[in-house]
């Protein structure tokens, strides 16, 4: 990992509204290299909106965001090369095979040796045996694994995962867990959202709760009290709604 930026993700005074409806306001966030940040929050708290802004798919109304050192407003194309995204949709074409979809994305990202890289990521998500099957013939869980393969294809420095465990069986969840560990062990970073508290606390180096348009971190000294604080914060957030 050769990124010279001080932080993997840095957001300052971020604001985003949909019409009159504010979703994020005055949000500050920083994610150091080599960390997984897990975000919890009630439905509608703005988790997906935040990830879409970080993925450059949506613009913030106000504030600045930099991913891998690139300001998303001024150098979005540079940033996109360093970001991998897994959202609620696989972003794969049903009538293309897994391999064709990945070759397509590999070529879009300008990978030189995309053939070998496609084989590697398919092996990593255990889809080699279904590589030449059309995406529409795969189960939802397999499609999610193919989407993960797509997201890591270009070896991004920052992975953005929106409820990545949704629809995955136990084996697939463990594949994903191993992948995230590999990502942070090599100095890269992950920002993920989830509703699964145990899984999130297990995978995350740091956990925050999105509530009231901001990311709140429990202010605790020991890991044990941090875990109980975050559980309490999530419970409070869910009870309060947004």
């Amino acid at each position: 990992m050769t990124n010279a930026a001080a932080e993997a993700v840095q957001a300052r005074s971020l604001e985003k509204s949909f019409g009159e409806w504010p979703v994020l306001w005055d949000l500050d966030l920083s994610v150091p290299w080599g960390e997984t940040l897990v975000l919890f929050g009630a439905n509608g708290a703005g988790k997906t909106t935040l990830l879409r802004i970080l993925a450059t798919h949506m613009r913030a109304d106000y504030g600045s965001v930099a991913v891998a050192g690139y300001n998303l407003r001024t150098r979005p194309e540079k940033a996109r090369r360093r970001i991998g995204v897994v959202g609620h949709r696989s972003l794969l074409y049903d009538d293309l095979t897994c391999r064709e979809n990945l070759v397509y994305y590999g070529r879009l990202f300008g990978l030189k040796d995309h053939g070998k890289r496609v084989d590697d990521v398919l092996e990593k998500v255990r889809l080699s045996s279904r590589a030449d099957h059309r995406v529409r013939t795969l189960s939802n869980g397999m499609q999610k694994r193919a989407a993960i393969a797509r997201a890591i294809l270009h070896e991004p420095d920052v992975l953005l995962l929106d409820e990545p465990e949704a629809g995955l069986d136990r084996e697939s969840v463990s594949i994903l867990g191993a992948l995230l560990a590999e990502w942070t062990d090599t100095g890269r970073s992950v920002v993920m959202t989830t509703h699964d508290l145990d899984l999130g606390l297990d995978w995350g180096h740091r956990a925050g709760v999105l509530r009231g348009g901001k990311v709140n971190f429990p202010d605790s000294d020991s890991p044990d009290s941090a875990t109980s604080d975050i559980r309490q914060a999530v419970a409070d957030a869910l009870e309060a709604g947004r």
Binding site: E77, L91, L92, D94, L96, Y104, Y105, R107
Partner: protein, 224 residues
């Protein structure tokens, strides 16, 4: 330009592969194009003596309606399956995305027209073996593809996309359709390039203008 060419060809490759798999666009547009000509041919009571006068109008009406049908599908698959989002979060410039989609549409429409033109020539009794006519068709179709791609990207984000596209498409393309009909009338009548007057250059200027404007506007259209 070389930075643009790679992604453009990748997008074209993907769309051609998808069309080869589904065959839902080219086949349906060819069938539709044939039906339009049959209907106009009878509605306007086209007879051998009137062919030269009526054929270009019928030809371009069929091409324009077929283009709307084709353009309506240009972004549907990308929108429904998330491919457009995939493109937007890739490091490919908005210009390359637009030009890739426009080139795909141009290829599909030219294929459809290549299949329809000989049939039209027989049904409407005119000679399709005129390079001026072929050049007019190419330039007119280029205009359809460029403007249609932009409006298709706008329409696909609305709930009434099938209605929205022709409402946006036809008013802007009216100059191209008029110029194409005029140039084709002269081509079918055996005029030389000089005899075409301003009509062919008019289509060329329109194409050049919208090849600059449309990719620029597209960047704003797809920005969420």
């Amino acid at each position: 330009m070389t930075g643009l060419l790679g992604p453009i060809m990748v997008i074209v490759w993907k769309d051609v592969l998808l069309e080869l798999r589904s065959r839902d666009l080219v086949v349906s547009v060819v069938v539709f194009g044939l039906l339009v000509v049959v209907v106009f041919n009878f509605a306007l009571n086209n007879t051998p003596g009137r062919s030269e006068e009526l054929a270009p109008g019928i030809l371009w009406a069929a091409f324009a309606f077929s283009a709307v049908l084709a353009m309506n599908r240009a972004f549907v698959r990308d929108q429904e399956q998330g491919g457009l989002e995939g493109l937007l979060i890739s490091p490919v410039s908005r210009d390359a995305i637009f030009l890739g989609k426009a080139l795909t549409s141009l290829i599909f429409m030219l294929l459809v027209e290549a299949a329809l033109l000989p049939v039209y020539a027989v049904m409407l009794d005119f000679s399709a073996l005129s390079w001026i006519l072929i050049l007019t068709i190419f330039l007119g179709t280029l205009g359809f593809a460029v403007v249609g791609t932009l409006f298709s990207a706008i329409a696909v984000q609305t709930r009434s996309r099938e209605i929205m596209l022709p409402v946006l498409f036809f008013p802007v393309l009216l100059p191209v359709i008029i110029a194409a009909v005029e140039a084709s009338t002269r081509a079918v009548g055996g005029e030389t390039f000089i005899g075409l007057g301003r009509w062919l250059p008019l289509i060329g200027v329109f194409d050049a203008l919208f090849l600059v404007i449309c990719p620029w506007v597209f960047g704003f259209v797809v920005e969420e």
